[in-house]
């Protein structure tokens, strides 16, 4: 009972912190926080594939970019588009792209899966640069109107105000996080972990491995699309560099590895670590990628279980030490 209470209290506390965050830290840091939250949830969707299903994708950016471009183009071309349908469009477009790729990619696993995604991701990048009439080439799509969040007749909130946008972004991303977390607790979530550990056995038990993979793949793609969509609204600009570049694919992988594969919250901590490092190093040097690369190498060499793994290890040691102490006291 007390554990449950503690859980609700901590959730309430988190909500309170998020509520007062922009008032306390000001607009600059709340924008940094939105950027971090987008990246964190985007990394979570990648972890659905990498950590939970064991599928390494080097082209996850194509879903991020597709969501972002869909939102941007919809707002740019169609006047009077409301806010929520536009975000939903990002979700749907990414799911459609995933459905198109599904028949090809879910049959394979391991390195081939990663490499196919690298290729398709680059194809999307090249297309975004070349299909000028739709994507604006190198310039990207920018300066589109940001619609207000409105329920007709009841409420209308101006989204160009960074404070309002902060709450909107956090609400959408928080909801996405909750849905993803809930999904891992469903029976299909358990099958997904089974596929990671031993696909043959899951197949023998009568579950359809390829179908399950396809469902998870589309889900991860769709929520990556939502994060992309929020990103486009946040920046009011999307270009091939920000949407489809290969670094957009590698970023969440690094965050997941550094944070800890296999735990749900690992990517969030990984993203936090990366955001902090980027924020700090970019003040002193332009060589941010160099620092990131060195950190990645260091983590893979010395702490392949990532931040969450190290934390778990420390906790275990602490508990063991306490146990010894307690037994000594007896």
């Amino acid at each position: 009972m007390t554990k449950r209470m503690a859980k609700w209290v901590s959730w309430g506390f988190l909500c309170l912190v998020l509520l007062v965050f922009p008032r306390v830290f000001g607009i600059y840091y709340s924008n940094v926080f939105v950027a971090f939250a987008i990246f964190a949830v985007y990394s979570l969707t990648l972890n659905m594939l990498l950590g939970y299903t064991g599928l390494l994708s080097f082209g996850h950016a194509m879903f991020f970019g597709t969501g972002a471009y869909t939102t941007a183009i919809a707002l740019d071309r169609i006047s009077g588009m409301p806010l929520l349908p536009v975000v939903l469009a990002g979700f749907v477009a990414s799911v459609v792209l995933a459905l198109i790729l599904c028949p090809i990619v879910v049959r394979v696993g391991g390195t081939a899966f990663a490499m196919l995604h690298l290729a398709f991701g680059q194809l999307m990048y090249v297309l975004a640069l070349k299909l000028r009439f739709l994507t604006g080439g190198e310039d990207g799509v920018g300066g589109f109107p940001i619609p207000a969040f409105s329920i007709p007749g009841i409420i209308s909130v101006d989204m160009t105000n960074p404070l309002n946008f902060f709450y909107f972004a956090i609400a959408v991303l928080g909801l996405s996080t909750w849905i993803l977390w809930f999904f891992t607790k469903t029976p299909i979530g358990s099958i997904m972990i089974g596929i990671r550990d031993n696909p043959q056995r899951v197949e023998y038990m009568g579950f359809r491995v390829t179908h399950t993979k396809a469902i998870i793949y589309c889900l991860a793609a769709g929520f990556a699309g939502i994060t992309g969509s929020i990103y486009a609204l946040f920046q009011n600009l999307i270009s091939a560099e920000d949407g489809y570049n290969i670094m957009v694919s590698f970023g969440p992988i690094m965050a997941t590895i550094v944070g800890g594969v296999g735990s749900f919250s690992g990517p969030i901590f990984g993203s936090a670590i990366f955001s902090i490092i980027e924020e700090l190093t970019s003040r002193y040097t332009e060589r941010v990628e160099l620092v990131m690369g060195l950190i990645l190498i260091g983590v893979i060499l010395y702490a392949p279980m990532g931040f969450m793994g190290v934390m778990g290890l420390l906790k275990q040691r602490w508990l063991a030490a306490r146990k010894v102490k307690l037994e000594g006291a007896k």
Partner: protein, 290 residues
């Protein structure tokens, strides 16, 4: 030969030269994949590093031939060090760790290059003997590109000889098909791995030096070549040298004629070809495994 035919022939040789350079990069990549089961994502970074080394060697000695010899060797040394001290240590953690490690190495090399040499284009000057045009039956063609084709052929023959006519080559081919069994037979497989990694990066290095005078040396050099080489490996079949060779030449011609006829969509052509081949045969043209 009238001027239109001459143009087509020139484009064809252009494509051949690019295809040969592409093969130098892709063959190292596919060999390393065959042995270790990972695609070395830092391969293009080594290629670029070698181009910078050749610029540096040329600036220091003023002799192109020394640069041509020294830069790939220096690159190979870096490659061997990366294999020995980084890749080998994470081998036990499985492929994902190795792949990500090469990503990390590639990030470090790409950014370190910017820190050392800056971001602007650097020019590599050719010696007098390689400058100028060659005239054959109404066709004018730059000597240097023919030299590049020749150079690639020489490397290709050395590699073919090593692989198919020596004991070492036999061991390498055996290790490609079953590393565990070769290890069990008492051959030092980690050493062979290191050697293959070194030779692979050396070939990428030769390609880097060869391309430096044509494209100039700049940090973006790795992007295009890395992606093309990777496409070659995927399309030709992971670990297949003959597949890499054929696809490299096809891609070279495709990009050369593609730029001439449909320049806007030329970069997409290779992806289209890859997608068609992969849908028909998911392991690539000559690949036997995924």
């Amino acid at each position: 030969m009238d001027s239109t035919t001459a143009m087509y022939v020139a484009q064809g040789i252009h494509g051949l030269a690019y295809g040969m350079i592409l093969f130098l990069v892709a063959s190292g990549l596919t060999m390393i994949f065959g042995m270790m089961g990972i695609l070395n994502l830092a391969h293009a970074a080594f290629f670029m590093l070698s181009a910078y080394f050749s610029y540096q060697a040329l600036a220091m000695t003023g002799n192109y031939w020394i640069a041509l010899l020294a830069a790939p060797l220096a690159t190979a040394v870096v490659g061997v060090l990366v294999e020995r001290f980084l890749l080998r240590k994470v081998h036990a953690f499985g492929h994902v760790g190795e792949l990500l490690l090469t990503v990390g190495v590639s990030l470090v090399i790409l950014d370190a290059v910017k820190a050392f040499w800056g971001t602007e284009s650097l020019y590599v000057d050719l010696p007098e003997s390689l400058k100028g045009l060659i005239h054959v039956g109404g066709l004018e063609y730059p000597v240097y590109r023919l030299f590049v084709i020749g150079l690639a052929l020489v490397v290709l023959f050395i590699m073919a000889f090593l692989l198919y006519r020596t004991r070492l080559g036999m061991v390498v081919r055996a290790a490609v098909s079953d590393a565990d069994m070769v290890n069990a037979l008492g051959i030092n497989v980690p050493l062979v791995f290191m050697l293959v990694f070194g030779i692979g990066t050396w070939m990428a290095g030769v390609a880097g030096v060869a391309i430096a005078p044509i494209l100039t040396v700049f940090p973006g050099l790795a992007d295009q070549m890395g992606m093309d080489a990777f496409l070659v490996v995927v399309t030709g079949g992971f670990g297949s040298l003959s597949g890499a060779f054929i696809i490299s030449l096809v891609f070279g011609e495709l990009s050369s004629y593609g730029v001439q006829f449909i320049s806007a969509l030329a970069p997409v052509l290779m992806f289209v070809l890859m997608a068609i081949i992969l849908v028909i045969k998911p392991t690539g043209l000559f690949g036997e495994r995924e």
